[in-house]
C-alpha cells in the first residue's frame, strides 16, 4: 500500500528526461520504425509513400511538362532561368493552336466519330455477351475461342481486304466505316467488351430471368426488361472504355474514316489534327494568320488541347473508370 502511494506521489516529480527514457525505450523505437507483425512500421510506410509520390511525379512528368511549356512565350522558352513556372500566363499559344486545329469543329467531329460507334458497339456487345453467358448451345466453346483469337490477331492482317471491301461499298471516308463493324459487334476491341458483358451477365442471378420467363416473357423480352436494367455499371464501364479507345485511335481512323487514298478532310478529329499539326500550322503561318511561330510551346498547347476533353471526362467520371476493372470481373475467373 505504502509503496504504491509513494510511487504515485513520485510520479509528477519525475524529470522529463526520466519519463522520456521510460517511455522511449529501444524496443519501442524499433517497433515504431519496423512495426510488429500486426502493424506496419513507420519506416516501411514512409518508404512506400516516398516511392509512390516519387514514381507518381515521374509518371506525371510529361503532363506537367506539357502544361507548363504550353503557357510559355518565346522569351520564357529561351530564358534558362525559367524552368517550370512561366513568368506570365501567356494564352496566345492556345489561341493559335486552337485556330490551327479548328478546335470546336474537330471536337464535334471527334465526338461523332467516337460516339456513334461506341453506342452501337455497346448495344451489340451486350446482346452477344448475354447470349454467351446465359444460353448453352453447341459450338459455344469454339466461338469463345474464336473471340479470344480475334482479339489476339493484329488488325493489320485484316486491314487490307477490309479496306478493299469498304472502298467497294464506298464506305471509306464516311463514319460508317467505323459504325458498321461496331453494329456487328466487331468494332475496336469488341472482344474485350463482349467478355466484360459475359462475365457480368454470368453473375446476374438466373432466378430473376427464370421468374420473368415463368411470367411469360420470351428470351428477348427478359433480356430487355430484366438483364439490361440490371447491367447499368457494366454498360457504363464499356461505354467509357469504348469511347476513349475510339477517341484515341488514330491509325484506323485515318485509314477508314478519313480515308487515305482520296483523303476526305471532313472527318478530322482532334487526334488527327494533332498528327498533322506541324504542316497545318506551317501553312497557317505562311498565310500570316498566326501571331507566333511554331515552337514547342505551341505544339504542347495543341497536345493539351487534344487531350483536354478526355481529361475533363476522366476527372468527372474517374470513379467508374477506376472501379471498372473490379466490376468487369476479369480477375474473378
Amino acid at each position: 500500500m505504502t509503496a504504491q502511494a509513494t510511487t504515485k506521489a513520485a510520479g509528477p516529480s519525475e524529470s522529463f528526461a526520466e519519463r522520456f527514457r521510460k517511455n522511449f525505450t529501444k524496443e519501442k523505437f524499433h517497433r515504431f520504425l519496423f512495426g510488429t507483425k500486426e502493424k506496419q512500421g513507420f519506416l516501411k510506410q514512409f518508404i512506400v509513400y516516398a516511392l509512390l509520390i516519387a514514381i507518381g511525379f515521374v509518371y506525371l512528368y510529361p503532363v506537367f511538362y506539357m502544361f507548363s511549356t504550353s503557357f510559355m512565350d518565346t522569351s520564357d522558352l529561351l530564358d534558362a532561368s525559367v524552368k517550370w513556372i512561366p513568368s506570365k500566363l501567356y494564352l496566345n499559344n492556345y489561341k493559335d493552336a486552337a485556330s490551327s486545329m479548328d478546335f470546336w469543329k474537330s471536337l464535334l467531329k471527334g465526338l461523332a466519330i467516337a460516339g456513334l460507334p461506341t453506342i452501337l458497339s455497346v448495344g451489340t456487345c451486350m446482346i452477344v455477351g448475354y447470349g454467351f453467358a446465359s444460353f448453352e448451345f453447341r459450338g459455344k466453346k469454339l466461338m469463345m475461342a474464336l473471340l479470344v483469337f480475334s482479339y489476339i490477331l493484329p488488325s493489320q492482317v485484316t486491314m487490307i481486304p477490309t479496306y478493299v471491301l469498304y472502298s467497294n461499298m464506298k464506305l471509306t471516308g464516311t463514319i460508317w466505316a467505323f459504325a458498321i463493324p461496331a453494329l456487328f459487334a466487331n468494332g475496336l476491341n469488341a472482344p474485350i467488351f463482349i467478355l466484360i458483358f459475359y462475365q457480368f451477365f454470368k453473375q446476374v442471378p438466373k432466378v430473376l430471368i427464370e421468374a420473368a420467363q415463368i411470367d411469360g416473357a420470351g428470351y428477348w423480352r427478359s433480356f430487355f426488361r430484366i438483364a439490361i436494367p440490371s447491367a447499368g455499371p457494366a454498360i457504363l464501364t464499356v461505354f467509357l472504355f469504348c469511347f476513349v479507345w475510339y477517341w484515341n485511335e488514330s491509325y484506323l481512323t485515318e485509314l477508314y474514316v478519313k480515308g487515305i487514298a482520296k483523303s476526305n478532310p471532313f472527318w478530322n478529329n482532334l487526334v488527327i489534327q494533332l498528327k498533322d499539326f506541324d504542316s497545318s500550322f506551317a501553312s497557317k503561318m505562311s498565310s500570316g494568320e498566326t501571331s507566333v511561330s511554331l515552337s514547342e510551346s505551341v505544339r504542347m498547347a495543341a497536345t493539351s488541347l487534344s487531350i483536354l476533353p478526355l481529361l475533363l471526362m476522366y476527372f468527372f467520371l474517374q470513379k467508374y473508370f477506376v472501379e471498372s476493372i473490379d466490376r468487369a470481373g476479369i480477375t474473378g475467373e
Partner: protein, 351 residues
Amino acid sequence: MGKERATKKTKNPQAKLGKLEKRQERAGYSFVAIWVIGMLAFTLIPMCQSFYYMWFKIKARNGLQFTYVGTSNLTQIWIEDPDFIQGIAGYVWQTLLQVPIIVVFALIIAMMLNGKIKCRGFFRLVFFLPVIIVSGPVMNMLVSEGAASIPALNTQSVVSAFDTFLPTAIAQQLGTLFGNMIMTLWYSGVQILIFLSALQKIDPGLYEAAKIDGGSGWECFWKITLPTIKPMILINAVYTVIFLSSNEQNQLINMIKTAMFSATAERGYGYASAMAWIYSLLVTLIVLLFFGLLGSKKDVYDRMVKKRKRLAKKEAKLAKKIERRSVRNAKRIEKARKSRKYRTYDGSGDY
C-alpha cells in the same frame, strides 16, 4: 433402370436434346448471330483474303487486277524495305524487354497500393491517367519534345555501361528503352488495376496462416501472392503484347500502311499483305512464347495428385494383369486336371 438412364444422360448431355434445350439453343444462336456474321465478314473472310492477296501483285485500277507472283512478295520485302526487317528485329527485342518491365512495374505499384494506404484512390487515379490520354499523336508529340525520358536519368551513360558487357544490338534497344522510360511505364495503367483487384481478392486468411507458421513477408510473396496471381500475370503479359503491337508508336504498322498506298509498282496491297502476315505471325509467336512461359502449369498439389493417379493406374493395371494370369493359369490347371494328364495332390491319403 430409370436411374441408369438418368446417369447416362448426365454423362453425355449432347446425345439428345429435349424440347426446352433445343429452344434455348435456338435462342442462344439468335443472340450471338450478329457477332457470328460480323466475325465472318470482318475477321475470318478478310484474313483468308489477305492470305490470298499475299501471293499476288495487285493493281488497283478500275477494280483490282491480280497477277500471280508466288513468293516474290515475301522476298521483295528484303529488297524494298530493309527497314522493315530491321524494324522487326528491333520490335522483337523491344517487346521482349518491355513486357517484363511493364508487368513487374505494374505488380510493384499494385503491391504498394494494396497495403494500408491513405489516398489510395488518388494514387490509383494518377497511375491510371495515361490510359485515358495515350494516343499515337499525343505520344509522338511528347516523345519528340523529349518529355518522355526521366529527367534526372543520364541515358547516354546507361547505354555505354550496358555496351561494355552486352551485344550492341541489345544495348541499343536498352538505350531506347531507357530514353523513353516514362512512356514504357505509361503503358501499365490497365495492368496495375488488374493486379490490384486480383491482390484484393486473395484470402487474408492465407497470409495469417503463413504468419502463424512463421513465414516472413518475403516468403509470403513468393509462396502465396505470386502463385495466386499467376493467371493475372499471363493476362497482363498478353494484354501488353497486344497493346504494344497495335500501338502507333510502333513503326512497323505505319510501314505496312505506307506500303499499302505506295505508288511504286513493287508495293501495293499484295506486298502489304505479305508484310502484315509476317508481322502478325511474329506477334502470335510472342504471345505463344508468353503462354508457354507463364501458361497454366498446374500447381504443385495438382501435379502430385496427377502423379498419384498415374501410379494408382499403373498398379491397377498390374493387378489386373496378375489377376488375368491367375485366371488363365487356373483354367489351364483345370483343363489339365480334366484331361488327367497329371494328378495334383488333393491332401488326402498317402503320397
